[in-house]
Amino acid sequence: MADSQATVVETDVQNPELRHHFADMEQQKNAASLGMWLFLVTEIMFFGGMFCAYLVYRTSHFAALAAGSQTLDIKWGAINTAVLIVSSVTVVLAINAIQFGRQKLTVAYLVITVLLGFVFLGIKSIEYTNKFEEHHVPGPGFHFTGTFDDNGKQIPVAENEVQLFFSLYFAMTGMHALHMIIGIGIMSTLAVMTWKGRFSQGYYTPIENAGLYWHLVDIIWIYLFPLLYLISRHT
């Protein structure tokens, strides 16, 4: 066992990032990448449960869900979508920068990403606050007087069923926001690590994998935005 690293390709022996049980950096990187993608699949299935609930209730309680959806502020939803897209761009730019070994630039992009993440959460909290003020938070204090505006036709909806929409809204966006918070934590850590010189042209797998995670959270929002805000606007 003493010679466990003797079989390793010479150029990689010096790389301090090579774990003992991998033959070379390529095997290690491929393993990490596959592992990350598998993890993303678990995330898809995790949100999939809620998407399934959404689909079921949109077919069975259409008017109530639509009425709830129409009270959301489309402006904030759209701005937040844009914020996330820009943050995804800064993530790929960070990876591009580290691929050229420009660590300072990488740090800068990661910091911007984190800041955009906070902007997203800030906007989300504005929306949540509005919901609280409007008594649109499910529970004993819930109150909803609106109707479903079906191209001008005002369709009354049952108050309790509109709670279904807001339950879905808070569950889905809340779980998404939780993922954003985790993402911000990861990105901040990576920014610090990059600042300390842990990553270089030769080794930046953690940044790459964190980027994959960030993009997936972005993709989930890309679906949440139309499902929750858009598709009931006009039917």
Binding site: E26, G49, S88, I219, L230
Partner: protein, 96 residues
């Protein structure tokens, strides 16, 4: 190891701009009455955006790993099973 495909900054910016444009488009289209097609259009645009992110930002377009693609496809495949077979119950409850 160093065979990593480096995507140019220009490509990233172009894709980012496309995504932003699509966001504006889908938001505006939501106010146009297309009947049941509102949902279809919005979800098609969302899927297109997601594809752009997966292919370019997540580098799936450039990877030589068949496994990555297989993993993504199987993820969505099993999600589809969850949705489709659940709906097979809900859609047929009113029959008879």
């Amino acid at each position: 190891m160093a065979k990593e495909h480096v995507v140019s900054v220009g490509t990233y910016l172009l894709i980012g701009a496309t995504l932003l444009a699509l966001t504006i488009a889908t938001t505006l289209i939501a106010f146009v009455n297309l009947g049941p097609f509102n949902a279809a259009v919005a979800l098609t645009i969302a899927t297109f955006k997601a594809l752009l992110v997966i292919l370019f930002f997540m580098h799936v377009k450039y990877t030589h790993e068949k496994m990555t693609r297989a993993v993504i496809v199987s993820g969505f495949f099993f999600l589809a099973i969850l949705l489709a077979l659940s709906m097979s119950d809900y859609m047929t409850r009113a029959w008879r």
